[in-house]
Amino acid sequence: MPLLRAVLAAVLLVVAAPGVLRSRQLAYIDPGSGSFLIQIAIATVLGGAVMARLWFSRIIGIFRRTRPGDDEPEPTDDVESG
C-alpha cells in the first residue's frame, strides 16, 4: 500500500509539477529556489488529494443518503500522507 501511494504521488508530481518547475525568471539567486519550487509541486499534489477525497466522500455521502436505514457514518481516512 505505501508503495502504491508513493507511485501515485510520483505520477501526480510528474503530471502537476512541470508548470511549476519551469519558473526561471531572473531576479536574484536564491539557494532555496529548488525547495520553493518542489514545495509548490508537493503542496499542489497534496492539496489536490485533500480536495479529491473531500469530493469523493461527498459523492459517497449522496449515495449513502439515498439508501434508507443506512445512516452509519463513513469512516474517515487519514488525509495526510506519510
Binding site: P2, L3, R5, A6, A9, A10, L13, V20, L21, S23, R24, Q25, L26, A27, Y28, I29, D30, G32, S33, G34, S35, F36, L37, I38, Q39, I40, A41, I42, A43, T44, V45, L46, G47, A49, V50, M51, D78, V79, E80, S81, G82
Partner: protein, 469 residues
Amino acid sequence: MSPARPGTDPGSFRDPAGFVFRRDGELYRQVNTSYRPAYDLLMGSGLYEHLTERGLLVRHDEADIDLASDSRAYKIIRPRRVEFIGYPFEWCFSQLQDSALATLDIQEAALALGMSLKDANAGNIQLIDGRPALIDTLSFEPYEEGFPWVAYRQFCQHFLAPLALMSRTDIRLGQLLLAILDGVPLDLAVRLLPFRSRLNPGLFMHLHLHARGQRRHMHHVTNRESLRGRMNLRKLLALIGSLRSTVRKLRWNPGGSDWADYYQRDSYTGTALEQKKKLVVAMLAGLDPGPVWDLGANTGEFSRIALARGDSVVSLDFDPGAVEINYRQMTRDGESGLFPLVADLTNPTPSTGWVNAERRSLLERGPAQTVIALALTHHLAISNNVPFTGIAAFFAGLTRHLIVEFVPADDPMAARLLSMRNHDFPDYTVEAFEAALSAAFTIRRREPIPNSRRVLYLMENGSDASTSG
C-alpha cells in the same frame, strides 16, 4: 549591520528583527522598529496568547525601552528564563520528534491567525516546563497568501532529515547536527537513507524529491514574485499535515541499546541500590543543591531524586537509548525541570558556529551547583585512561558540591572493564582517588555503600572549606 554591543548574545545576530542581550544578569530581547508590524500582529492577533496558553511559545513581559541597546529599538521584552539550553544534537529521538511536531503546531496556529513561521531552526525549540516550546518570539511574519512557506527547507533539514536518519539508518546520525549548523543537507540525507525509505510517501516527497528538486534547480534563478499565486492556504495546510504525519510515524526504540537496562544488570544487589539511594537523599538534604548536573545519569533514576529537592537537573548520558527512556518517562509523568541530554563527557559539546560563539560548549553552560557522578569515575579512569587528577580538575571547574562514587577495582563492573585491558592500572586505588580529589575538594562525608565495596562521597569545592563557594 551595527557592531554588537557589550552584553549582546553572540548567537543572536542573524535576524534583523532583533537580538538577545544581557543586562545586570537579566536576559532581554530587543525588537527592532523594522519588525514592528509583525510584533504588533503577533501580540494583537491573539496568536501570542494562544501559543503561550498552549505552552508552545515562551512568555515575555515588555520591559523599559530605556534598556535598548541602540536606536533601532521598538520594544524591549524580557522572556521567561529558560533553565537550560540543550542543542538538537544533544536531544534524544523523541525530543527532536516532539520539537518537530511543536514547530508544525505553531505554524498551523500561526497560519490560522494570519502569520507564518519565518524560520524553523530546531535550536529555537527548548524545553519549558518539560515540553518543547519556541523561545524566539521574533520567528513570525505576516502570512502572505500565495507564497510558499519560507522555512520548509529548514524544517526538512533541521527536523525531518535527522529524524529519518536516526529512525531508518542509525540513531547516532543525530550527531550530524553538531557538524552542520543549518541542518542535514538533503542530498546527504538521501544518500545515507536506505533505498526502502522511498516507499514512505512522506519521506519520498519531502526528502528524496525535495533533494532532487534542489539539485535540479541549484543554479536556477527564480523571481520571488513569479511564485505569487502558486500557493494557497489549503495547499499549505496540506503540506503541514503531510509533514506532521511523516514525522509522527517515524519510530525509534532503544531496545538494543547498551545501557538501557543498566539498573537490571549492574553489580548492585537490590538492597545496595536502595542504600545508595538513601545515602544520596541524605547528602542532598544537607545542602542547597541549586542547579544539579547528573553525569552518567543512565535513565535518570538519581536525577529524579535530585529533582525532588526542587531544583533543575541536567541529566546527561552518552547512551541515546538511556536518554530516550529518561525523556519518555519525563513526558509521561509530566515532569518539569529535568533536561535529559546525550553527552559524551570525554568529548563534550564544543563551542560552534560563527567565531565559535553561536552555540556554547557544554561546560560553558555550567557551572552546576551540585554534580552527581555515580558509577562514572571507573569509566573515565579505566575505559578512557583519564587520570584521577584530570577527573578532579574537571569536577572542580564544574561544581561547588560533588556527590561522587568510587568503584574499586575488585567491583564486578570495574573488574569487567579491567579484564578487557592488557594495561595495568596500579594507581586505581581508593587512596589515590581520595588524594587526587582532595587537592580540589574537601571531603565532607565518606560513606561505604552497604552490601557493596563501593564508597560514596560528598565533597565541597576548595581544598580548604573556608575557601569554598
